[in-house]
């Protein structure tokens, strides 16, 4: 039976949650057909992460280490993963739909001339190995059920925060194989000069379990402080509508929506955001949506699990206080 290969992304020696989620989903799919789940780890000095992958369900680990693999390189990572695929002939290659994952998956699928199921929110496998995925189209206005035409090295990326990693278990004896990749360094390729962290918004939106987002209703950049305080109390990231970004109140990396980021947090709190269709495109798959808006007719209320019709300048600080109080009580 052909195995399932899972590319487990790491950056700076830290495994990405999206990769562990893909591994968890790989295990779930494999369990149905008794397939092996092989994790692939690429980077420089990342061998210490192998144990974590074993704990999260990998039954075998392929390790590719080289100094030049320190930063993501579409060319080298694709060669590495394609080599792994040639070696183990997987029925499917899974990874998280992150900036790296979506890039790598598209290139790999073109190299292997196989199906690409990008940014899936659900995934199934037929007995012969064919992948059937659910994807959101048209900014989430429609869902598509898509099916690969050949059950060979199908490449799928999984939307972050939608699938669950397995609970880590203590395991031993999971084999780690080093794969030496012929890295053709003479081919023209891109090179990462540096990686710059975003100055503000340390918490990445697409990975955050909770997001507090603000729109034009905030009236100015200085008032985002209110949201940051609530976010801090909740352990949340701060997002923004396009109106707030275009006004220069927040950087584009904070924008949620059609021309910003697509997020699927457990909780999305929209403050002073009307809920335009293009904003919904980025957040409608959040599990719980809270809307705080002083206009009871704002479209955001059609989406909201809980709505507060009120002045955000009054409500948000009260919320922050209440959350802090609750957390303090919990600690006691």
């Amino acid at each position: 039976m052909n195995p399932i290969l899972v590319f487990c992304e790491q950056r700076d020696g830290h495994l990405k949650k999206a990769g562990l989620e893909a591994l968890g989903e790989g295990c779930r799919l494999a369990g149905k057909g008794g397939r092996e789940v092989i994790a692939v780890l690429i980077g420089s000095s990342v061998d210490s992460l192998a144990a974590d992958l074993a704990a999260h369900g990998a039954s075998r680990i392929l390790l590719m280490e080289d100094e030049v693999l320190d930063h993501y390189s579409p060319e080298l990572y694709t060669s590495g993963l394609a080599e792994a695929a040639t070696r183990v002939r997987p029925v499917a290659v899974l990874m998280g739909a992150t900036a790296m994952g979506k890039d790598l998956a598209a290139k790999l699928a073109a190299r292997l001339e196989s199906a690409l199921l990008q940014d899936c929110v659900a995934l199934e496998i037929e007995p012969n190995g064919t992948l059937v995925g659910t994807r959101l189209l048209y900014g989430g206005k429609l869902r598509a059920i898509v099916r690969a035409t050949h059950p060979i090295s199908q490449v799928a990326t999984l939307r972050p925060n939608v699938f669950s990693p397995l609970e880590p278990r203590a395991v031993s004896g999971v084999p780690v194989e080093r794969l030496s990749v012929r890295l053709d360094r003479t081919r023209p390729m891109t090179r990462v000069r540096e990686v710059r962290g975003a100055a503000e918004d340390k918490r990445e939106l697409t990975e955050a379990p909770i997001i507090v987002a603000g729109g034009r209703g905030l009236r100015g950049p200085e008032h985002f402080k209110l949201l940051e305080e609530l976010a801090k109390a909740l352990g949340a990231a701060v997002g923004a509508s396009r109106a707030a970004v275009d006004a220069g109140w927040k950087p584009h990396a904070s924008q949620v929506g059609l021309t910003g980021k697509t997020v699927s947090p457990q909780l999305y709190i929209a403050c002073g955001i009307s809920g335009a269709i293009q904003h919904q495109a980025g957040m409608s798959s959040a599990r719980v949506i809270v809307a705080i808006n002083n206009n009871p007719n704002a479209p955001i209320f059609n989406l909201a699990t809980y709505g507060i019709v009120g002045d955000l300048f009054e409500v948000v600080p009260l919320l922050t206080e209440e959350v802090k109080r609750l957390k303090q009580e919990d600690r006691k």
Binding site: R11, H71, Y72, P74, T98, A99, A106, K107, A109, A110, E113, A115, L116, L117, Q118, D119, R135, L136, Y138, G139, K141, L142, A144, I145, R147, A148, T149, P188, M189, T190, R191, V192, R193, V195, R196, G197, A198, D201, K202, E204, L258, T259, G260, L267, S284, I289, V290, P296, F301, L303, A304, T305, Y306, G307, I308, V309, L318, L319, E321, E322
Partner: protein
């Protein structure tokens, strides 16, 4: 400098969509179509590079992906913005494919056109895949930088430096020409077509390329060659109805936190 921009025509983003009874496509009649917003950033960037260097040619290319699609309008919009040439890939063999077959046909056309820099959108806002650009680069055997919100091209040194958006930051990437870039919001503010531009665009010819002129086998393309098929399209399940929390601000805040804590187990 030869710059080529691949653009896709998509339904306007505020469109209300309905699924056709057979479930495999949307109802296209009555919709307004636009140039994919990310592709507008790509066209704008190409025009700015040409303007900065002072010479060069900007060609826009589109592939008709459905029989009912009329992407000529999208090409005219790009010509009106200032593009020099427009190429339409049109053949029943190209239609109803997936990202791979689209990339295969585009790559074949691009090989014939010759280029120094290819610009694509980060993703088409209809299928939301973000794949075609990356796959074209792979098929052409050239490097790519995806999701770029800042670009500096050095025409003399024949290389570029691009800022690519990643989680929690940016990657500063350099690459030699020829190279393919996919464009993200933030790169620029696309111009509106000018009235003289629109008049001039009407007179410009569209070059049409068919499957046989590209020397491609029809059975590798479109629906016949697709590696992925849409089984059906459907409306997402409606969100369960929400509720408004009554009372004054203090009551509302207390009640919301209680619900998020006790019922939703989120805090």
């Amino acid at each position: 400098m030869k710059l080529i921009v691949c653009v896709k025509q998509v339904p306007a983003t505020e469109s209300m969509l309905a699924v056709r009874p057979d479930g495999t496509d949307i109802e296209r009649s009555g919709l307004t179509f636009i140039v994919n917003p990310y592709d507008e950033f790509a066209v704008e960037e190409a025009l700015r590079i040409r303007e900065r260097i002072g010479t060069g040619e900007v060609t826009v290319v589109t592939l008709r992906s459905h029989a009912a699609q009329k992407p000529e309008a999208a090409l005219r919009t790009c010509l009106a913005m200032g593009a020099d040439r427009a190429v339409l890939l049109s053949d029943p063999a190209f239609e109803d494919g997936d990202s791979f077959t689209t990339a295969l046909a585009l790559a074949a056309a691009l090989r014939r056109l010759s280029f120094d820099l290819l610009l694509f959108g980060k993703q088409a806002v209809d299928d939301d895949e973000g794949a075609v650009g990356v796959q074209v680069a792979e098929l052409l055997g050239i490097p790519h930088v995806a999701v770029v919100n800042r670009l500096e091209v050095d025409a003399k040194a024949r290389n570029l430096v691009a800022h690519r958006q990643i989680e929690g930051g940016i990657e500063v990437v350099e690459a030699p020409l020829p190279v393919l870039v996919t464009c993200q919001k933030g790169l620029n503010e696309p111009r509106y077509p000018s009235l003289p531009g629109i008049m001039k665009a009407k007179q410009k010819p569209l070059e049409v390329l068919a499957c046989h002129t590209l020397g491609l086998a029809p059975d590798t393309l479109g629906a016949a060659g697709a590696k992925l098929r849409v089984v059906r399209l459907e409306l997402p399940p409606p969100r369960p109805p929400g509720r408004l929390i009554p009372g004054d601000a203090e009551t509302q805040a207390k009640e919301l936190v209680r619900l998020l804590h006790e019922k939703e187990k989120l805090i």
